[in-house]
């Protein structure tokens, strides 16, 4: 052992906080998206406590108050809705339901779909085929029928809305997880674990799941946006969240009749949805760049040597 190989210096590992922050700063658009999302999440958490009362206080004499006027107080800066409630306050309070529903639905579908996908990908028993057929069925099942059935039989509630959205998004995770597993289970470290005598459960949980998870999380960021949009489409068809609860999607749906006369009722929540989904998409793009060793340099500060 005479030759000591130089210990190859590990490249900056994506994952450590300061490095990520530096990468974020390099991409101004992603930075803006991150800041916007932070603000929205803060609003969702603190909103009801801050402006909860204002959001549900009737002001029938301030119906459809136009925006950009401070005459009725700063809370009316974005105007008022059809019952004279300040839109700003409702946006802030509505963020909680919007994010809560989307997060719960995405999480549930990722958990269930991911688990089923892991099983369907690793095992070749009969239940794997059953899972795949199930995914086929859900894929070709109109989500609206599901929404109506669930809302009728279980009653309209936020939980049931989450169930509907989660079930309809589930096949995406199932199929992605399965496809990843099909590739991963042929990897050598899985063979190594099997050679050591590891049981399938251990291989799936310890070896495969952690490698599938990042892909699923990447999908979930975009899916989060999709769920917000689906929820608003359900509201448009009258199958979404039911009053007095509301989300941004429901606000747009309710305000759509006023686009010609009081555009601000549907515009602000629509803008909020758009900026949120846009931010999520931008951030997931950024995350993909960070994760890709061949693209990561675009986010790095490239210092040339002096010459």
């Amino acid at each position: 052992m005479t030759i000591i190989t130089p210990d190859i210096k590990p490249a900056a590992v994506p994952g450590s906080g300061s490095v990520l922050l530096a990468y974020l700063k390099r991409d101004k658009l992603a930075l803006a998206a991150a800041i916007f999302l932070t603000i929205v999440v803060l609003a969702a958490v603190l909103g009801p406590w801050l402006v909860g009362d204002a959001a549900s206080r009737l002001g029938l004499r301030q119906r459809n108050l136009a925006p950009f006027s401070l005459a009725s107080g700063w809370i009316y800066i974005l105007g008022a809705d059809t019952l004279g409630r300040p839109i700003l306050a409702r946006l802030i309070v509505g963020a909680q339901n919007t994010f809560g529903i989307a997060a719960a639905a995405v999480f549930a579908s990722m958990l269930v779909g991911g688990t089923l996908g892991l099983i369907a990908g690793y095992s070749e028993r009969w239940y794997s085929h059953l899972i795949l057929r199930l995914a086929d069925v859900v894929m070709s099942f109109p989500s609206l029928l599901l929404a109506l059935t669930v809302l009728y039989t279980l009653g309209p509630s936020i939980t049931n809305l989450v169930i509907v959205l989660a079930v309809t998004r589930m096949p995406i995770y199932l199929r992605t997880a399965r496809a990843e597993v099909l590739e991963l289970r042929e990897r050598m470290f899985v063979s190594a674990a099997r050679a050591m005598g590891a049981k399938p459960a251990r291989i799936i949980i310890r070896h495969i799941a952690p490698l599938v998870l990042p892909t699923l999380v990447t999908i979930s960021a975009i899916d989060f946006a999709t769920v917000i949009l689906s929820e608003s489409a359900l509201s448009f068809l009258g199958l979404g969240i039911q009053p007095p609860d509301f989300t941004w999607g429901a606000m747009v749906a309710n305000g759509r009749g006023y686009l010609a006369t009081a555009w601000w009722i549907a515009f602000w929540p629509g803008l909020a949805i758009m900026l949120t989904t846009l931010s999520l998409n931008i951030l997931s793009n950024w995350a993909r760049t960070v994760a890709d060793p061949q693209q990561r340099w675009r986010l790095q500060t490239l210092r040339k040597a002096a010459r």
Binding site: L83, Q242, G257
Partner: protein
């Protein structure tokens, strides 16, 4: 790269510019009507369904009588006169010289055929519901006279006959149809998933209408329907939302026959307490709430509109007295009523424009008054379970959003359903009240009118089983090309014969 972007932009601009004036120019005598909903079918027995009636009624098929929108009294149509032979028998004289669109003559046999087809039970017939569970027997007396017998006195038979659409005897008896043949001034030309087209019928017995062709299309969004009339793509659209009725030149408000209300489930505590029911009525800022429905709505004190036999103009609606409401609730609380029980306010999605907003507003107002009201918005089918008997077993205290449409001229279409203990929507169970109602239904003329008024008065002041809200306003946008004004009947029919084209 840049060049391709420019090319794309140029192509887009060119396409935009090249669009031929998107507004389809209809020939002068042809009109286009845009409805909110696609008619599921065109069975003449279903004309009381708004979107069927607005196409067929008085255009393709005609009834024996029509109701005068002002007086509420039946007027001749295919029947020219009618007489009551005895309390259960009416004799109807038919118009002479009327031909169906397939060439068949209108005669007593055709009328008997049409009514028998309606009551046969071999097809789903909505219109028959207006007759309740009455059993009818028909006999042709001579070629143009028909005798109608019912199993119990039917003082308003001529009014009821306004829902009887007379169809050609060649119509199948046991099958609903989509190609109705009637006596009206228009024949059905096409019925596709996109349009219904009516053509003028040359052999019409009455005055020849100005319109030669009418095309019906449908769009659910009120704003789009309004836009279509504005851009000239359509000439007329009924029931647009108040916020879209922004152009006084084209948008007409009309008092429709609809009355909105909240039904109080008076059978379940704490709503069985009269003080609570009164408080519910007093706690609403009616003037503020009216903002949601437009300046022209009328505050309601009873479930029928003016013009219906039995409507009491003198009956005062509930005022807005929040303090009084709070006081009543406190009284009830002191008397041991569980006023803090959660009360379900059951709304129906899309029941009328701004219906959900109204429910939200009312919920907030009741909460302010100290009641624990929680809103649930339901889909039609689900909501129906609460509306109709038998009610769901575990329904709990509930308030139900509803809308009642009586355009048939008589309070008999209203009172028994709501206030008689057997009424399918009724939460009232008062034998004395039942008796009063039965007597009123059997009465005729002025006695009938007065006893109906008395019942409405009692319902408002003593029973308080509902919260009458407003007599609603409909808005119709009529293109500048047309000479026509909507009225109380517009919700059930749009007679093309009454529409004229403006002469420039």
């Amino acid at each position: 790269m840049n060049r391709s972007v420019h090319t794309i932009a140029a192509v887009v601009l060119m396409t935009a510019a090249a669009v031929p004036s998107a507004v389809a120019q209809e020939a002068a005598q042809e009109i286009r009507i845009v409805l909110p909903e696609q008619p599921a079918n065109l069975e003449p027995c279903g004309t009381i369904i708004t979107n069927v009636g607005q196409i067929l009624s008085q255009n393709v098929v005609e009834s024996l009588t029509v109701i005068d929108p002002v007086s509420g009294q039946p007027q001749p149509k295919l029947a020219t006169e009618w007489t009551s032979v005895d309390p259960t028998t009416w004799r109807i004289k038919l118009r002479e010289g009327v031909k169906f669109q397939d060439g068949t003559e209108l005669n007593a046999d055709a009328v008997v055929f049409s009514i028998n087809r309606m009551i046969s039970g071999k097809l789903t017939c909505s219109n028959i519901a207006k007759f309740g569970d009455a059993k009818l027997t028909l006999t042709p007396v001579d070629d143009l006279t028909v005798e109608i017998k019912s199993d119990r006195p039917e003082p308003i038979m001529p009014t009821l006959l306004s829902v009887v659409m007379i169809v050609s005897p060649k119509t199948p008896v046991d099958q609903a149809v989509n190609d109705p043949v009637g006596t009206g001034p228009f024949t059905l030309a096409t019925f596709s998933p996109q349009t219904v087209v009516l053509d003028a019928f040359d052999g019409y017995w009455g005055k020849k209408p100005e319109i030669t062709k009418a095309t019906y299309v449908w769009r659910p969004e009120s704003s789009i329907r309004a836009a279509m009339v504005e851009t000239g793509e359509a000439d007329l659209t009924p029931s647009i939302a108040i916020q879209d009725a922004s152009n006084p030149e084209t948008d007409f408000a009309y008092l429709n026959s609809e009355t909105t209300a909240i039904r109080i489930d008076a059978a379940v505590p704490p709503l069985d307490d009269l003080r609570v029911r009164k408080a519910l009525n007093l706690a609403i800022d009616w003037e503020g709430l009216a903002q949601l429905f437009g300046d022209d709505v009328k505050r309601a004190s009873q479930m029928v509109v003016s013009g219906i036999n039995g409507h009491d103009d003198a009956l005062e609606p509930w005022p807005y007295e929040p303090e009084e409401a709070k006081k009543l609730i406190e009284e009830a609380r002191t008397a041991g009523v569980a006023v803090d029980t959660e009360i379900k306010l059951i709304g129906r999605n899309g029941i009328y424009p701004n219906g959900a907003e109204a429910m939200e507003a009312m919920m907030t107002m009741w909460q302010d008054a100290g009641l624990n009201v929680k809103l649930t918005m339901l889909d039609v089918a689900d909501w129906l379970r609460y509306l109709q008997k038998p009610f769901p077993a575990e329904r709990g205290p509930n308030l139900l959003q509803m809308m009642h449409d009586n355009n048939k001229g008589d309070a008999a279409f209203t009172i028994p359903i709501f206030y008689r203990s057997s009424g399918s929507y009724s939460t009232v169970a008062d034998p004395a009240f039942d008796k009063e109602i039965d007597e009123a239904l059997a009465a005729t003329d002025e006695a009938r009118t007065n006893s109906f008024k008395a019942i409405f008065g009692k319902a408002r002041k003593e029973v308080v089983a509902d919260i009458p809200m407003f007599h609603m306003i409909g808005y119709t946008r009529v293109g500048t090309r047309l000479e026509w004004k909507p009225d109380i009947t517009t919700n059930s029919e749009i007679p093309l014969a009454n529409i004229a084209i403006k002469k420039d």
